[in-house]
Amino acid sequence: MNNPNSWFQFALYVGALLLVTKPLGLYLLQVLDPKGKTWLDPVVRPIERLTYRICGIDPAKEQNWIGYTVAMLLFSLVSLLFTYFILRYQDHLPLNPQNFPGLSPHLAFNTAASFTTNTNWQSYGGESTMSYFSQMVALTIHNFMSAAVGIAIAAALVRGIARQTAQTIGNFWADTVRVTYYLLVPVSFVFALFLVSQGIIQNFKPYTVAKTYEPYTVQVPKTDDKGQPVLAADGKTPVLVDQVVDTQTIVQGPMASQIAIKMLGTNGGGYANANAAHPFENPTALSNFLQMLSIFAIPSALTFYLGRMVKNPRHGWAVWGAMFALFVAGTLVCWQAEARGNPIHQKLGVAAADGNMEGKEVRFGIFNSALFATITTDASCGAVNAMHDSFTPIGGLVPLFNIQTGEVIFGGVGAGLYGMLIFVILAVFIAGLMVGRTPEYLGKKIQAYDVKLVMLVLIVLSATILGGTAWASISDWGQAGLNNSGPHGFSEILYAYSSAVGNNGSAFAGLTANPADGNPHWDTTLGIAMLIGRFLMIIPILALAGNLASKKLVPASAGTFKVEGLTFVVLLVGTVVLVGALTFLPALAMGPVVEHYLMGAGTLF
């Protein structure tokens, strides 16, 4: 922490984020208006019109909240099945030079649910499971679509807040198509080319076999003709045989095009198993910086969109300010913990000044790993450039807590804003209770129905996280997946369900959710948790949007609670932290908190 250069990098990041927020926000205002004008119109408008014509979409015809929800659900279902079947039968499809087999039903379900819900949890190792066709079609399509749908939902909610006595909240198809065509594709294209310049691959060649400079010998378990491991006389220990390694198989494929949208759309599902820690996925500190920026760019711009749409720019910036305060706090705590390192390892002779480098890459170092971990979990991105499982207990608690707040600290594209607006309404409600009058939000009375919807979202999500964690913790299948024991093992389970419900997708990745014995419990429960986390959040939010849109405006009075300025920011931050803390503190105490003290005492498991 006493390295001035790291502070300078942090300042640059914040500066860059501020710099993109307004221009991108202004652009979003045009993109999310079917009649909006952008400088891409000459190129994109004809494609957009053609799409509408082929699909029979009338962009000017707005939908009420039920119509919007039905369209969103059916689109998600159709595209989920599309991905499921491609993954199941990838061996019969083109672009499979490594001849990977089709995926098992539960792995295909988990992956399809994962990508449809913008979670992008990876139960599989990309480079050893997925054909180029699966990567490029089955997975990448959701990187675009789930991001576009998220932004569309956020726009619908903002319209609901901004309008009065209105029946409709926009056209789902127009929103989705326009966000994809005008925002996601053009930015991804430029970003992908930049990433290639840094070293990310983009080709369709089979994997390259390199003849390495120094052949060496490793010991691997001996297998019989059927591929079963041969056991020693005691029937337990596997027999080991020497194997000479004189080649290295180098992964190839269309990676850059996928990585660009993976970051920009806060998807996070990597091409390779190690995600953005893999030198091909994130080759330089510069690519790392822009990947971090691309995670927060759209969520940050959406707060500007909110401010403009409700004709109260200061409200937009107040929401931004609350997110920013939580982001800085998380970064500092995580950075401090990782820089301090692990006293157990330092006693063995590891340099204390180097911090905790286990699971981190040298080109990023401590600061950029801690910053990335905070950003990726503040947002619902879930890409990782270091292994969270190997973070110190407090360093790992930060990402975990970030996810458990509901990923509202900038958050996923769209999802972050609509999640935060849930807390805004809750904060306004609490403020109303404190002064003893009917709460109002931007001139709309917040009534029992609205608060019930808000509570429904919060309760369903936390119950799913805690329920899933409890079930897995006491089950054989749950414990079988663990890579660590003691409190850290519990943290792996808690992280998995938090990540799934939060649609984050990062992991304490030692956990094996797709075990070799084919036990489907982890894949299936996590897949269901992701669907709950996505759709049982979106449906109440669209209902809320519809209800808010239909309300009348009440004129502001002396007693109106102001949703801008420092008081509001503090109240909003307090609401987010308190709801998160009250719900998850007991579980966190059993995991990372107790582990922190055990690490200090030198206890090992």
Binding site: G67, W173, L193, A274
Partner: protein, 197 residues
């Protein structure tokens, strides 16, 4: 019911059009641009001999174990440096297994580099990276290996140090990331300048 059927039809059509545009045209356009402007990077930053044999990628660590070469960080990718199964150890801070492996790595590092039995060892030298393929080591780590490499090649430590300085990479644009040195690149430069004994 009619609306639902209509929306299913729209969903199917939009999915198909997106598949063509986002999963066909978009990656192909990136591919064409990448191959035209940055062909070396787009194909894996490969290192080849004069006869065209591919020997590795500048971005991926491969195993170097002998004294005459700089050694990369420990790797948890497959059986080690397996570029088809990138991975960290994912062992937590209170893991006995991790503690044991770090203990062994510290001892081995001290012995092979002729360090005192209580010498402090750079963290990157004894911990596994996130990918298991981290191509870099810290400058401190490289500096501590210099004497061993110099001795094995019968050259002076200063000559090796000069190559570290020459190969070492500063922060990107002087700001981003951490200074580091690419192990494969350094070893190639070494072989070029001073053939191994």
């Amino acid at each position: 019911m009619k609306t639902i059927l209509l929306e299913i039809k729209t969903s199917l059509l939009v999915t198909l059009i997106f598949a063509v545009l986002l999963c066909g045209a978009y990656p192909l356009a990136v591919w064409a641009g990448a191959q035209a402007i940055f062909p070396a990077q787009a194909n894996g930053s490969l290192v080849s001999d004069k006869d065209g044999t591919v020997r590795g990628s500048l971005l991926l660590a491969q195993n170097f174990a002998s004294d005459k070469y700089f050694q990369p960080r420990p790797s948890a990718a497959g059986t080690g440096y397996d570029a088809t199964s990138s991975s960290g150890t994912n062992l937590g801070p209170t893991s006995q297994k991790l503690s044991d492996s770090i203990k062994a790595a510290v001892a081995a590092y001290r012995t092979s580099n002729g360090l005192a039995a209580d010498a402090v060892v750079p963290a990157d030298a004894v911990t596994s990276s996130g990918s298991g393929l981290d191509p870099h080591i810290s400058l401190t780590n490289a500096g501590l290996q210099a004497a061993r490499v110099a001795k094995a090649r019968g050259i002076s430590v200063a000559q090796v140090q000069a190559l570290i300085t020459q190969t070492g990479r500063a922060r990107d644009w002087g700001v981003f990331g951490e200074p580091s040195v690419n192990v494969l690149q350094l070893n190639l430069v070494l072989d070029q300048a001073y053939a191994a004994k």
